[in-house]
Symmetry: C2
């Protein structure tokens, strides 16, 4: 019997779940080759423009397989609708029966993305973060900070965004989360002042070119070959670059751009699952580390299982 | 607001729907290049073995896009479960919202496949069919005949299957559909006696090598490169070979096998959508025509729209 869960139902199931731990388990399984994750399916629509991604896969030995459909329709914003839409399906791995339909409206993707940012910060941030920086003023800017509260005691934030009104709204929302947040006039101020930085924009050109020694940057905005938040120089000069998936990093995200521009070699990157499992990571407080997250289907599998309570 | 429909609800919506007309429209749109149908996504599972296919796409100018997940778990049969499982999702093409979840348990795929067989017979069968032949004793053998009732007045059937018990059961079921059905001892008897033949088996070697002049054959059992129901000689000697998708026919189905064996050139095939639109077809009662159907995502789109009532 298929269970159909609406977003309020899913939210209440997830209240008691440690999503950081769920993501850690998923990343480790992925990096240890226990995940089967075929290439992402893609459907492009025109007039109005929309982009649909279909991610699917399973972890060997686990009871379910998952299919996630997530879309972005940029024109929705002008119509007062959220740009992201989506649904997750969880199937029984033994007989193919549809176990659960998670009508999450895209929220689970936001959640698992934010939880992955917290995982990256937990394992890569320098020991004593005095100020957190965030680039971008969208849903992820809020959610990343929300989830960072569980992995760092720092409550001081410097935020930047292109749109002054949206930036103001973000500052207010971060205040409600318990942060002392201030607006930066330009991205470089954040590079100069913060030691834990999250980039959560849809930028197509580099916003950040320089950070202080002892900084960790989680770049989660770029998930296509075209998007870029960090300069290739910054990626190439970092002491450690960590990617969620080496296969995906070859095609999209910050590492892919830096490779294309000749300033980085993907062989020098570690996978996040390997860092979590203790096979590498930050070795000195003064190192610059970058986590380049493009989103992997195992994250969807982990959060779908958590949401369905299995 | 997402609507969730169970199979009994879908069945009742479809009662008033002309599926043959819906399939005709879909095939024409496909052959006229108005459909966007990315490559099929595939997930293979082991222990127990399962195969999951993800088909998705849309027709330009229509309001929805569809994602279909359909799976086959051969081990289900021994456990008393249907091997096929599935779900169809219909999304709003304007904003990406999930319009409907069709919990069809795979039945919609069976239906659209059977309706496509009726479309092929409607446009390609000779004018005066005295006897229909069917190879295979599974779900499609019944459903193809069920749907043929709408496109031919003939009610005489000769049926063949490997398993005598299953063949008996089919004869009984066809009787309930209003057919006078008899069992054939071997496939060649059907080729010798029938002028409208449907092959609906999972055979991996040719069952039919010769038919009478003025016969139409719809081969719908073969949907992989390995499966084959018609000899390459029969395909090569037909007056007209029609495929649902030339792209797919290059990779799988009867035409692909005949091309591989050197007895057929795919440039000589017409697409079913072109035949429906009047750009070719049977020109003489004595011709032998073959429709080689492998199943196209636009069929799923058409039946999902019909089932959701939009």
């Amino acid at each position: 019997m298929t269970r159909v869960l609406t977003w309020p139902q899913i939210e209440s199931v997830l209240e008691g779940v440690d999503l950081v731990a769920a993501m850690e388990e998923a990343f480790v399984a992925y990096s240890e080759g226990r995940a089967v994750v075929p290439p992402v399916g893609e459907l492009i629509l025109e007039e109005p423009r929309g982009e649909v991604h279909i991610k699917y896969g399973y972890i060997k030995g686990q009871p379910g397989y998952v299919v996630k459909i997530a879309s972005g329709f940029p024109g929705n914003v002008a119509r007062g609708l959220p740009p992201g839409q989506g649904v997750m399906l969880l199937f029984d791995r033994e007989d193919g029966a549809l176990t659960a339909v998670l009508l999450d409206e895209g929220h689970l993707t936001d959640l698992r993305t934010a939880a992955a940012g917290a995982v990256a910060a937990k394992h890569l941030a320098p020991p004593d973060v005095q100020r957190i920086g965030v680039l971008g003023t969208g849903v992820q800017a809020r959610m990343q900070l929300d989830h960072l509260r569980g992995v760092t005691p720092c409550r001081s934030v410097l935020a930047w965004g292109r749109d002054a009104g949206r930036l103001d709204a973000l500052i207010t929302d971060l205040g409600a989360l318990g942060f002392e947040a201030e607006a930066a006039g330009e991205p470089a101020q954040i590079g100069a002042a913060c030691s834990l930085i999250v980039t959560a924009t849809a930028s197509h050109s580099p916003l950040l070119d320089e950070v202080r020694p002892g900084t960790h940057v989680t770049a989660m905005g770029s998930d296509t070959h075209e998007k870029q938040e960090l300069s290739a120089r910054l990626v190439g000069s970092a002491d450690l670059v960590v990617v969620d998936s080496r296969d995906q990093a070859a095609l999209r995200g910050e590492a892919a751009r830096a490779v294309a521009e000749g300033s980085f070699d993907l062989d020098d990157a570690l996978e996040l699952g390997d860092v979590i499992a203790g096979r590498g990571g930050r070795t000195h407080a003064d190192q610059v580390t970058i986590a380049d997250l493009t989103g992997v289907a195992v994250q969807d599998l982990a959060i779908a299982r958590a949401a369905a309570g299995i």
